[in-house]
């Protein structure tokens, strides 16, 4: 940490045009009325007798003024106050979240020059206000101690960019007959594209190679065959009344999950007036988060999806000759019937990266008339244009020594590519490798010159995630380190001396005004849309050829599926503790990398137990040692390993992020010109050890048949809107109720139908409320600190009754029957402090550290807490969290609370708790207070929606609603009276202020009896 004072430099450079609340007089700081007194016509010298009066007044005024000041260390006042910047008042800037290469519209909350929180830009049609867990966590990458503070030339830090430019130009000009390559992710930024074009002009022997960590080239090629366009089309889940997903985790990781989740949720909310909802079929080998939300879920090995799709194609009216195949209980028939009855309003998607399978998917969607309604080929997604062939030729050119200089922009193929190790060797034959990575990564380690890019929160950019829809990135902090935008760098290397302080801003401005958009309005909104002409897509692929290719494929007893985890995603940004501290939505394992195995396979095929170590052997490579996790819902014959682990950086450190898991990318392979994430033959497991303890936040298997979560079918709900909630407990209270008739009465409603378990709220809450990162060992000791957790429950459809009791499960196991371990349905239930009116925690605290507010909040006074932990014991929901250690001074870590830089992300409105005190969800009381003050200043009543909690804001599906129950017109008041609402553990009469809304699944009762036996 050399240049800490840079963080405060040049706030005034940030244009503050923006959707923000500002100005003086916020907290009534009118100052003392000295002017009035001293401008008294007679003045100070007027009267000897007034001396004492003035003297007394002055002394008391000085005393008062002195009392007014809080003891803040190192607070330096502004010499000149920047416009719109008032200490203590946040500014909000619309910008772009850079962990999504294609761009994602966000709003950054900035306090005193520091961005401290990211949320989705709710005005943008692409965001709906939500932001994924990984997106939330990404703010820490700005304050990452591993960022390169300066450019590096041949291992030496170089403060002067002119030297960098000189070195780069020397390398480029010396290229001679050898080529230059620019390797980037899919270019979604027109500014970057222009810069590359300009660069190519300057160096005509340059080729641009696109590399993405996750390949979608199966879809790209299929669309080229089908429609002549090598694009990823835009999917509209908000129009799809029947969704059939073959392994695509479109709510968690597939293509553009956050927006898909928001769109999908729109058709998942039946109301009494309109009791309809979409129906979601999921056929998958692993148990994905998306699968856990499906109405019908069929475990089926991924390698068989192609054949299944071909059969589905035949059932809905197509005709190809393939071996017949069906799901258990002829479910394919039912899927086909449902799809046919929803022509033009259905959607079939597949995770397969095989062109033939994707052609089959296209053919099905074409027959169903989905093109133009739920799928739009004209307006495509700029997610990926990665073409394996062109990258492979780059790799071979590199190995042959035909490349003089390679500029690696935001890519890390040494880690992500299946042949990363060979690539690292090949890059050594490249004349000069130039990397623009912000941090040292596997590829950058081999780079001669590192010209670190700005963080996206420090830079200007334009992104086009969907054709015709632009997102604007603007800096929300002055540069933390001596970095330079890669766009600027490319122009500089091309020989253009860009003028001005912020040349990239000028480029962006020119681009925006060139589109005919208003610069100010665009930057204010953060996005701009222009109409895109959509041409009708004429399907023209050879389905029979695809089908015969599918039919000739083979599958074996064991196949390996490589998947992405929510939070960790492809691993690019996975060196972020929040991504790992968040438990996986399905397995509830934090930090660890593991091999998921179906129960039957573990018992009968591999003879494995949870926590055994295995060696995974595949034709593409082996992984020496990973623990085994037995995953309910997983198809027999499928094993799964998450990508994104095993990063080999910062290895001299000893925290939980170093040496975490194994890199599974080398197990991927290429077939049919696309990367395959399914290894369908030659996979074997060998037990090499045992006894691993997962850092798992939930370990008990069964829910014991308790009525804490409620679920019904759509048919039941239509007949009876109060289904499952009919029997309210008859409760008699000995005490007088709290009186909430005056003022506010806060409450929260959580729609279990909308919640998909993605965990975005968990990370959002942690950031908003300065919740410490505790690490893997502490989670193993069951001490995670999250104020909000998402309980995940499995249930077993068997014979029409949901078997949830352990006894019933075991009875089935004894008979050697594993269906119920595979046919699980899953519930996600977010649980935070329920702010009980009769709070058990409040009565037991000996020192009144936790008390009830007149507005129904259960308050926690950290300063008063002595840490008896009785409140935590007495909480029926177990939502209280204790500071077992000084988590804010954890010598083991160098991020977040534990470095000067990491601490910049802390929310100054929320106390950092010391060791030995209890903490818990506060309903974001700081936001309530802020909203109240704002309303008071504006001399109005609080209106519904003024107060939002962090979890609510981050939720992509709007599953969480917060508000004032006393306001009869508020959403929350209506939801409290909704027939679907129930209170968890209502029979204990703790009177929680949170209601849950019964989960409705769009399935038929009689279906359950038939799906139980395959």
């Amino acid at each position: 940490m050399t240049n800490s004072n840079q963080y405060w430099k040049g706030l005034e450079e940030i244009e503050t045009s923006l959707s923000s609340t500002t100005n003086q007089g916020e907290f009534g700081d009118e100052g003392l009325p000295l002017d009035e007194v001293f401008s008294d016509s007679e003045g100070l010298s007027s009267n000897r007798r007034d001396f004492l009066k003035y003297f007394g007044f002055s002394v008391s005024a000085v005393a008062l003024a002195a009392c007014n000041k809080a003891p803040v260390k190192y607070a330096v006042p502004y010499v000149e106050k920047p416009e719109n910047v008032t200490p203590g008042v946040p500014l909000y800037y619309a910008t772009n979240c850079g962990i999504y290469n294609e761009g994602y519209p966000i709003v950054a909350k900035v306090r005193e020059g520091r961005p401290i929180k990211l949320d989705g830009n709710d005005r943008s049609p692409l965001a709906n206000g939500g932001l994924s867990a990984a997106g939330q966590a990404s703010i820490l990458s700005l304050y990452d101690v591993h960022r390169l503070p300066n450019p590096v030339i041949n291992g030496e830090e170089q403060e002067d960019w002119a030297e960098v430019d000189k070195a780069v130009k020397a390398a480029l000009n010396g290229a001679g007959s050898k080529g230059i390559r620019i390797v980037t992710r899919t270019v979604s930024s027109p500014l970057l594209q222009n810069a590359i074009n300009r660069f190519k002009e300057a160096y005509p022997n340059t080729e641009h190679v696109v590399y993405d960590p996750i390949s979608y080239s199966g879809i790209l090629q299929a669309n080229e065959q089908s429609f002549g366009k090598k694009v990823i089309p835009n999917y509209h889940f908000d129009k799809a009344e029947v969704v059939v997903s073959f392994g695509a985790d479109f709510l968690g990781t597939w293509v553009s999950p956050t927006r898909f989740a928001a769109d999908y949720a729109q058709l998942r909310r039946p109301t009494e007036e309109d009791p309809t909802m979409s129906r979601h079929y999921q056929i998958e080998g692993l148990m994905s988060m998306t699968g856990s939300n499906a109405d019908y879920r069929y475990p089926m090995n991924d390698s068989k999806h192609g054949l299944l799709l071909a059969n589905l194609y035949n059932k809905i009216g197509g005709s190809v000759s393939v071996p017949s195949m069906d799901l258990p209980a002829n479910a394919l028939e039912k899927i086909a019937a449902d799809l046919k009855s929803a022509k033009g309003k259905s959607l079939v998607v597949s995770s397969s990266n095989d062109v033939n399978v994707q052609v089959m998917v296209n053919a099905i969607n074409d027959i169903l008339g989905n093109y133009g309604s739920t799928i739009n080929v004209g307006s495509n997604l700029n997610i990926s244009a990665y073409d394996e062939a062109s990258f492979n030729s780059f790799a071979s050119d590199a190995g042959k020594g035909n490349i003089a200089a390679a500029i690696m922009i935001g890519v890390n193929p040494v880690y992500h590519h299946s042949k990363g190790g060979a690539l690292a060797e090949a890059l050594k034959s490249v004349g000069t490798v130039i990397s623009t990575s912000m941090t040292m990564d596997e590829t950058t380690e081999g780079a001669a010159i590192v010209a670190p890019d700005d963080h996206w929160l420090e830079s200007w950019d334009v992104k086009e995630p969907v054709s015709g829809h632009y997102i604007f990135s603007q800096p929300v902090i002055s540069k933390v380190f001596n970095t330079r935008s890669v766009i600027h760098s490319l122009y500089a290397w091309a020989g253009d001396d860009l003028a001005g302080d912020q040349p990239v801003m000028d480029l962006a401005k020119a681009y925006v005004t060139g589109m005919g958009a208003s610069w100010k309005q665009s930057i204010h909104d953060g996005f701009y849309s222009k109409p895109v002409a959509t041409e009708p897509a004429a399907f023209a692929a050879n389905v029979s050829a695809a089908a015969s290719s599918i039919a000739s494929g083979s599958s074996s007893d064991v196949e390996l599926v490589l998947y992405q985890k929510v939070g960790v995603l492809d691993g690019t940004w996975s060196l972020n503790p929040w991504c790992h501290e968040l438990p996986d939505p399905v397995t509830k394992v934090a930090y660890d990398n593991y091999v998921t195995v179906a129960k039957r396979d573990a018992d009968e095929v591999f003879k494995l137990e949870n926590g055994d170590f295995v060696k995974v052997t595949t034709p593409n490579g082996t992984i020496d040692r990973l623990p085994v996790l037995i995953q309910p819902g997983q198809a027999r014959g499928t094993i799964g390993i998450a990508l994104g682990f095993g990063r080999k950086v910062n290895e001299q450190e000893s925290n939980d992020l170093v040496d975490l898991g194994k890199n599974a990318y080398p197990l991927t392979s290429e077939s049919n010109g696309s990367t395959s994430y399914v290894v369908s033959s030659g996979v074997s497991l060998e037990k090499v050890g045992s006894g691993y303890t997962f850092a798992q936040t939930q370990t008990h298997w069964s829910i014991e048949g308790r009525d804490t979560i409620r679920e019904a079918t759509l048919g039941e709900y239509e007949n009876n809107p109060k289904v499952r909630n009919e029997h309210a407990p008859h409760i008699v209270s000995l005490w007088n109720e709290h009186d909430y008739s005056k003022g506010h009465h806060w409450g929260m409603a959580i729609d279990l139908n909308a919640c998909n378990g993605c965990g975005s709220c968990v990370v959002s809450c942690s950031i908003e409320n300065n919740v410490p990162i505790v690490g893997r060992d502490e989670i193993r000791r069951r001490r995670e600190m999250h104020w909000i957790r998402i309980d995940r429950y499995y249930s077993f459809n068997s014979g029409g009754e949901a078997l949830t009791k352990e006894k019933a499960i075991d009875a089935k196991v004894d008979g050697g029957e594993y269906d119920h371990y595979e046919n699980v349905s899953t519930m996600h239930v977010p649980v935070m402090c329920q702010h009980c009116d009769n709070a058990p925690c409040e009565t037991v605290c000996p020192v009144l550290a936790t008390t009830h507010s007149t507005e129904g909040l259960n308050q926690m006074t950290y300063n008063r807490c002595i840490g008896t932990k009785y409140c935590g014991n007495n909480c029926p929901y177990k939502v209280r969290r204790f500071n077992w250690f000084r988590y804010n001074l954890n010598s083991k870590y160098n991020y977040h609370f534990n470095s000067e830089l990491g601490r910049m992300v802390l929310n100054p409105d929320v106390t950092v708790r010391s060791r030995g005190v209890m903490e818990k969800c506060s309903f974001c009381v700081q936001n309530i207070q802020m909203a109240k003050l704002k309303a008071k200043r504006e001399n109005r009543k609080l209106s519904d929606g003024d107060v939002t909690t962090a979890c609510q804001r981050s939720c992509p599906t709007d599953a969480i609603v917060f508000g004032d129950r006393n306001d009869q017109n508020s959403r929350i008041a209506k939801l409290f009276n909704n027939n679907r609402s129930y209170k968890m553990l209502e029979e204990t009469d703790v009177k929680p202020s949170v209601v849950y809304m019964t989960k409705i699944r769009n399935k038929e009762m009689e279906q359950e009896t038939t799906t139980s036996h395959s």
Binding site: E704, V831, V847, L848, G867, K869, N883, F885
Partner: protein, 448 residues
């Protein structure tokens, strides 16, 4: 004086009044034996373990223990209840048996009361050091303060604990000290060195053995006995309310007050037996603490053991009868869940094992009684462990269900309090008369 010849003498060996003084004062006036040194050294070593582990806890945080997000109390509160319970026998013997004029209590009440005091000190360590911020440990006291209008929460059972335990400790200490005064005076009178004369004289508070002295002594003893008697019942009742007033299935039980009191007396007598069986042989007091005494106490152990056994069974029945699934699960989980071994240890040690005292041989064989007393102690420790941990580790929402196991720090603290207890007891046996000489002299059968 009336002598009931049909009763067996409470003190055997034909002791004279002089013998009593000589016998009881011998350990005080002579150099300690090797056995004493051995016991004291081990105890002191354990006391240092206590200092170390408590220091580590205070320095690093409660995180050094095995407690977690669901089981926030583990060995700490288990030990607290265990030690408080042990104290009860002392008060029972000195107060209730005094009121009932049970003269056999006279040779054991001194050490039983000492045990009470040391046990309460050990107990108090746990609620103090289980606090996350022990340096603010005085905040639960209703002191006027400069923090503004901060006051304590009179609804909280933990606050009741503060009052109950501190009252109990003060009254017990007073009672014990009052009983000591005549004996300290005896030691003073027999003293040969100046220092001894000064210190024992100081603590004897000018006792001169006059009729007025004796009168006041008897009156105050009776009053304190009267004050202590409700305490025998109230202290553990209030401790039980830490659990009974909560909402946790397995804690939220109205049977807890009588059940805890019975358990406390049970465990207290268990510990008294442990101590006295050792003390009578180490200090050569077989004639004062006779097999008769031991037998009387084993009868109490058997009675109270059966009472807690009845309470265990009642709890089970009520859980079944209530129809509340959480209660039912909590009890099923105790007996057949992952902590079944703790439950069955408790059942066999507390309910089954004491039934051997139906046999005369078992009641009159000191080495056997000693083993049984250890079993009782183990059983009662497990009772508290079962109540606290098995209820917390699986309460309402299965998503938060966890397992708990203690770390070496928690084990060290528990062993450390053993060290504290026995160190104090060894010092007591060295510097103060372990048997009430003054009272014992009134029940001697042989007269000169």
């Amino acid at each position: 004086m009336f002598e009931a010849n049909i009763r067996k003498p409470l003190v055997t060996g034909g002791k004279t009044l002089t013998d009593v003084s000589n016998d009881i004062c011998r350990p005080i006036e002579n150099k300690p034996t090797k056995l004493w040194w051995l016991g004291f050294s081990i105890s002191f070593l354990l006391l240092m373990v206590f200092v170390g582990t408590i220091g580590w806890t205070t320095w690093e945080g409660i995180g050094t223990w095995g407690v977690n997000k669901s089981v926030m109390w583990g060995w700490d509160i288990t030990n607290f209840v265990f030690w408080v319970g042990i104290g009860h026998a002392g008060t029972l013997i000195s107060a209730i048996l005094l009121l009932f004029r049970q003269k056999w209590r006279m040779s054991i009440n001194r050490s039983a009361e000492a045990m009470t005091i040391f046990a309460v000190i050990c107990a108090a360590m746990f609620p103090l050091f289980h606090m996350g911020r022990v340096w603010l440990g005085y905040w639960p006291l209703p002191l006027p303060n400069a923090f503004g209008s901060l006051w304590v929460n009179f609804n909280s059972p933990l606050l009741w604990d503060v009052f109950a335990i501190s009252t109990y400790f003060s009254v017990s200490l007073l009672f014990w000290y009052l009983g000591l005064i005549p004996d300290i005076a005896t030691v003073r009178d027999r003293a040969t060195s100046k220092a001894r004369k000064f210190w024992y004289g100081f603590f004897a508070m000018g006792w001169n053995g006059s009729a007025r002295n004796w009168h006041r002594y008897e009156v105050v003893a009776l009053i304190l006995a009267g004050v202590s008697t409700p305490l025998v019942l109230s202290v553990h009742t209030i401790v039980s309310m830490d659990f009974a007033t909560s909402v946790i299935p397995g804690w939220h039980t109205t049977i807890f007050p009588p059940y805890f009191v019975a358990g406390a007396i049970f465990s207290g007598f268990g510990m008294v037996l442990t101590l006295l069986v050792i003390a009578r042989s180490v200090l050569n007091l077989q004639d004062y603490i006779t097999v008769e005494h031991l037998e009387a106490m084993t009868k109490v152990v058997m009675l109270t053991g059966s009472m807690v056994g009845l309470a265990y069974l009642t709890e089970f029945f009520i859980a079944f009868y209530s129809g509340v699934e959480y209660e039912q699960y909590a009890f099923r989980n105790r007996a057949f869940g992952p902590y079944w071994w703790a439950y069955w240890t408790m059942m066999s040690c507390n309910l089954l094992a004491p039934q051997v005292f139906w046999f005369k041989w078992a009641r009159t064989t000191p080495w056997f009684i000693f083993i049984m007393s250890i079993i009782v102690n183990i059983g009662m420790w497990f009772e508290r462990f079962v109540i606290i941990v098995t209820s917390l580790h699986r309460d309402y929402l299965p998503s938060s269900w966890v397992m708990y196991s203690a770390t070496w720090v928690e084990v060290g603290i528990f062993l450390g309090t053993m060290g504290l207890f026995f160190t104090a007891f060894f010092l007591f046996s060295k510097f103060l008369p372990v048997v009430n000489m003054a009272e014992i002299k009134s029940i001697l059968k042989s007269r000169e």
